[in-house]
């Protein structure tokens, strides 16, 4: 079955240009097509009409690279639970539907063009501690460090995050707490991550603040929007880890001052 849809698409020529919604009629869209394939069809027609196609980020189109973004009818990645935009299929829409398509909106994710945003803030947060400092070639045998299945599974739950930024886009405050907590949580949960636990937590949270994301107000829109079902409990763990790390840092600093005073 084919669908006729009314699209309201955010068009913005460049980062500093003023954007606005453009009405586009998308006729005859096959319902087996994916949402991005619908966008492809629309773009082909725009090009044929001598107009600029809609710019949007996408790559793997199988729900894992985290490159596709867009907010569809107010929801990052659209209406389907635990599904990225690229895996959303048109059979979830009805003939005659109006669909609003907007970029992820956050001060920390500036719009580059149309639906494309700059998410490099996430890379900078990762560089502030999202790793285990292990040199290539140094490690022991992998099975020399047994890790309980529950711990490994929990770390995997956090590691499932694809870094798409839907948590930021959905949050009323454009907060990045779900992303950052998943990244911190994965490594802080594992024995390999223990030696740098405090440093990592402080570094990544401070970088997150610096990037201009908002604060968590415990509304959990992020969790509802997450295409990989990352849980809010990681945020709780991060809060605790941060409090402990901050306390430890303050104690160490005052101890240092005292010993320097001697």
């Amino acid at each position: 079955m084919n669908l006729n849809l009314h699209l309201k698409v955010w068009r913005q020529a460049s980062p500093n240009a003023k954007g606005s919604f453009q009405d586009i009629e998308a006729r005859d869209i096959p319902d087996h097509a994916s949402f991005l394939e619908m966008m492809d069809i629309v773009n082909e027609r725009l090009i044929a009409d001598g107009k600029e196609p809609v710019a949007f980020d996408h790559d793997c189109r199988e729900g894992i690279c985290g490159m596709c973004s867009m907010v569809i009818n107010g929801r990052p990645h659209g209406p389907e639970r635990a599904t990225t935009t690229c895996q959303l299929h048109m059979r979830k829409f009805r003939n005659g539907d109006t669909i609003w398509i907007e970029p992820f909106r956050a001060r920390a994710f500036p719009v580059m063009k149309d639906l494309m945003v700059d998410r490099s803030a996430f890379d900078r947060i990762m560089a502030a501690g999202g790793f285990v400092s292990v040199r290539t070639g140094a490690p022991q045998d992998a099975n020399a460090l047994p890790i309980g299945k529950e711990v490994a599974d929990a770390a995997m739950d956090a590691a499932a995050c694809i870094g798409c930024g839907a948590c930021v886009a959905s949050c009323k405050n454009a907060s990045a707490m779900l992303f950052v907590s998943a990244k911190i949580g994965q490594l802080n949960a594992l024995p390999q991550g223990q030696p740098e636990k405090h440093r990592r937590t402080l570094g990544m949270v401070r970088q997150m603040d610096k990037e201009g994301f908002g604060n968590c107000t415990n509304q959990y829109e992020c969790e509802a929007a997450c295409p990989k079902d990352v849980s809010r409990t990681w945020i709780a763990s991060m809060n605790k880890d941060f409090a402990v790390a901050s306390g430890r840092e303050a104690l160490l600093a005052s101890a240092r001052e005292r010993s320097e005073g001697d």
């Binding site: 907007e102 920390a108 959905s170 405050n173 994301f213 509304q219 809060n239 941060f242 409090a243 303050a250």
Partner: protein, 226 residues
């Protein structure tokens, strides 16, 4: 301090001061309910509050509560400003999936409660209206003490005052319904299971507070307590 300038640090302080205020609200409500035990019990309670620790106790309690309120309000205002700045441009199509209405109006309910709190202090603590300070003293087992019981009866005999009071309690209920459940999350105590439990407890607590605070003025207005 670096901790307080961070987003999570501020949130933790908001949660801790919130916890103090939750405790205060609960204790205050229990005190109110003593109205049903009669003038002697209520006035004894009021007198106790004013004399405990040679009269210092109440000032300690007041400082803690006032301090908590000030910090709670200042930090949430800061956080809210940051949050608004973080989403500079709003969505054309607004949609909310799971965030409760209460959670989205915390700043409004909170600021309303602040103004209520100021009014409430002027009303019953500073006693600027209705000549409460001229009330005849109450005989508490031979000791002449301030008649707080009569003050309550008089204070709530105006339907408009009662209405504003109960409306404020509705805001408090709304504020607590999100706030209480948020405390363990912000303090990092939540697991999957406890999160659900705290959500229910938070709601139950919020309604308990609403009921506890509303029942006294309503009873006074309906003439059940004289």
């Amino acid at each position: 301090m670096r901790f307080l300038s961070s987003s999570i640090g501020k949130k933790i302080v908001v949660a801790l001061t919130g916890l103090v205020l939750v405790g205060f609200v609960f204790g205050h409500m229990i005190g109110h309910l003593l109205m049903f035990a009669g003038p002697a019990a209520y006035n004894e309670y009021a007198h106790f509050l004013h004399t405990v620790g040679h009269g210092m106790g109440i000032w300690v309690a007041r400082s803690v509560v006032f301090g908590s309120i000030i910090v709670h309000v200042l930090f949430t205002i800061q956080l809210t400003k940051q949050n608004r700045a973080a989403r500079a441009e709003p969505y054309g199509y607004q949609h909310t999936q799971v965030a409760s209405k209460s959670s989205r109006v915390m700043i409004i309910s909170g600021l309303t409660l602040l103004s209520f709190f100021i009014y409430h202090i002027l009303h019953f603590t500073v006693r600027v209206w209705h000549g409460f300070n001229q009330l005849p003293l109450f005989d508490l087992a031979g000791e002449k003490v301030f008649d707080a019981y009569q003050m309550m009866i008089k204070g709530f005999s105006f339907p408009l005052v009662t209405g504003f009071y109960i409306l404020s309690m509705v805001f408090l209920c709304s504020h607590l319904s999100h706030g209480v459940a948020s405390i363990p999350q912000t303090l990092g105590l939540n697991t999957e299971a406890s999160g659900k439990l705290f959500k229910k407890l938070g709601l139950a607590f919020a309604f308990l507070i609403l009921a506890g605070f509303s029942v006294v003025p309503l009873a006074i207005n309906m003439g059940l307590v004289k």
